[in-house]
Symmetry: none
């Protein structure tokens, strides 16, 4: 096994262990055990535990950066946007292990690394923000706070990917792409027609709102605590 292979083996092992246990619970011993090398070997390839983690994250970052294409407004915008969503989804879903680390386990590290993570987040956001702003100039994006739009979009994406990384059964990717696109395209609330948009009400399948089957306890507390009690506790 040559040097680079061994490095890859360690990287793979680290990815697995990190994603299973999170950064802090992942011990160097676990990694080397999985990679079937001696402990010292680990330190031949990486200066310390933190740096393997960093390398994994940076790899994911660059794959993301490589996947996203700048939208060309002269061409089919919808297709391009969907492509981007699809690409991001693909990168992250292809590495659910790392994704879940990235999204949830990346804390408590040393400030330098946290700074790096934050910088990446800001970068991605800025990229999206600028695209949205350009889209506004081109009239394909609703006027409004592009920064918030960017944040929302990223959050929605992160959440769905995080869920997928966490759960065993994966959602069909295309459904994620479509649903997210739809959200961005037209939202989902349809209480009444937005100005300039005809009412969608009464368009067919849905009946009038039926006040009478509304919960009698309007303004009822939706208690998570209660819900929790209902679920079987064991496990």
């Amino acid at each position: 096994m040559d040097k680079s292979e061994r490095r890859q083996a360690l990287l793979r092992a680290a990815r697995t262990v990190f994603s299973e246990k999170g950064y802090h619970e992942a011990k160097v011993d676990d990694i080397v055990a999985l990679a079937k090398v001696a402990k010292g070997t680990f330190y031949l390839y990486f200066p310390d535990k933190r740096s393997v983690f960093g390398e994994l994250v940076r790899g994911l970052f660059s794959r993301l950066g490589g996947a996203i294409l700048r939208v060309d407004p002269s061409a089919d915008v919808e297709a391009q946007i969907k492509h981007n969503i699809r690409a991001i989804v693909a990168v992250l879903l292809d590495d659910p292990a790392l994704t879940s680390i990235l999204l949830s386990h990346a804390a408590g590290l040393d400030p330098a690394f946290v700074k790096e993570l934050r910088a990446f987040r800001q970068e991605v956001k800025l990229l999206l923000e600028r695209s949205l702003a350009e889209g506004q100039r081109l009239g394909v994006i609703e006027p409004g706070d592009t920064e918030l739009y960017a944040t929302f979009t990223i959050g929605a994406l992160k959440e769905v990917l995080f869920e997928n990384a966490l759960e065993d059964q994966a959602r069909p990717r295309e459904r994620i792409v479509t649903a997210l696109y739809d959200l961005l395209r037209r939202g989902y609330l349809r209480m009444d027609p937005p100005p300039g948009q005809p009412a969608r009400r009464g368009e067919g399948e849905r009946g009038a709102p039926a006040p009478e089957d509304a919960a009698p306890d309007r303004a009822e507390r939706a208690s998570p605590a209660r819900a929790r009690r209902a679920r079987p506790k064991g496990d």
Copy 2:
């Protein structure tokens, strides 16, 4: 100082320390130092470190649960939805410290606790999902995958709150509420009229779409590295 006061003092101290350092860097020593009690005392009130954290999180949860009202479709739905968004935002922004731990630092804990966190997430999501499904029956929610809608919404909310917790300058809450509402209400993409909706193009403030001034480098790679260089923010 009576029992409950001391307990509160410890909880407060823990919250502060956790939020400043994250779960792993927060030492029991830090907490008792801030609460000005002896180390042993800590274990008189809490079985272990994890459990204080758990209690703090559960407190936040129940405040969230208490803040959310079930939407009554017979009344002003928009107001109610906005109210809910506003309430959630308020609870989380009132405790940015805990929020940021909750959203990002809660990794590497033992599986039991992680499970608990996940259970809570699912609960919240289920609540939202059911509301959306009910909304669909009532015709106020677009047909579609309510689970994905719920996920997206939660993600968007989390992200914006997380950002706020992280950054020093807070965004005006009402703007968050409005922008999120708008997203849910109509999305932000307006490439072309959705079926049944008139085109919003050329409706006023936005200039004509200029397909011909599209970037020549269509499908250009959007390099995060490049973006980094572009940002002036020294850090």
Copy 3:
């Protein structure tokens, strides 16, 4: 056992272990084992291994500083000088363990500590140097390079103490004091009378130099290697 007692116990244990093994071979495990406390306890009393060592050395230093009296030339100088030699000898011989560490094992430590050690050496030397210079003014010290005299004196003292620390059988202290005093007082070479001093030759016990019993191989190599071969190797 109260705090200060435990601290003393650790200090004592450390002194023993350091002197038996030298700084590097002395393991914290050895120290705590000897002191019969848990490893963590060590770190309750000292921030790290280096600092115990530092404390031991500093203690010795201050005992030395406290023992040396400034010589008053108007009183019995010989007695005072002998007193000082005696005092230094006493301090160091009372702690042979530490003395041997101090004189031989104090290397390879971090630069800060090495600097401290060196500063102490210079201090002691400066003190002696100044005394010698004052002595020269008063006519009780031979003219000459006081710095070198100071160095020689310190070296002679160190060596004899080091030897004593190393070997099991101790030399009688008073003999050390007297012999060193004699060295400083009149040297030991008596080849021919120094100018202004009558010859000591022919004063009685010693006969004329007998050139014929000189080694025929003048300029013979005094080979340590040969001598080494002669000694039994085992142990």
Copy 4:
């Protein structure tokens, strides 16, 4: 490069590294890096790290042994003694690096090696002691404890060489030789004439002893701390 050349290169590299870092901080990696050979090669020429160090020390020893000439009492004794002092000084000052390791860094080694070092010291001392005893028979050495004289002499020499190795500016060798010779020849204390020796007082350059200008604080503690404050040398 043939075997012996490579061996020499390793020895040279080791000497440099040892003297720069001391035994413990000198890593085999440093040595092979400096010698530009692979790590495994080191072990082709030396069984272990300690043995290179031992070889260096032994080399110094044999150079010392080779430099010292047995004193022939029928010839010019002063010249011969000065020659020996000069030779020792020369050998050690020519290799200040190794000298300083030898004198201060040689701690924490394994017992076997420490024993070897000690044996060498004893050998050298024995050699000197015998010379002194012979000198006493010949009437050129003051009667007295030759073992102590030997120890003092070695100590004085070591100290001055050690200082020279440590400090950047070297003392002129001839001054060291002369001053040490003078010490051995007549000491430096001249409080009052030794029996059989006329007073050296008032013989010239020095003023009369002024007992009345003695410090009023006789027997004042000579505080190192105070001395420290007095020294201007910032560090």
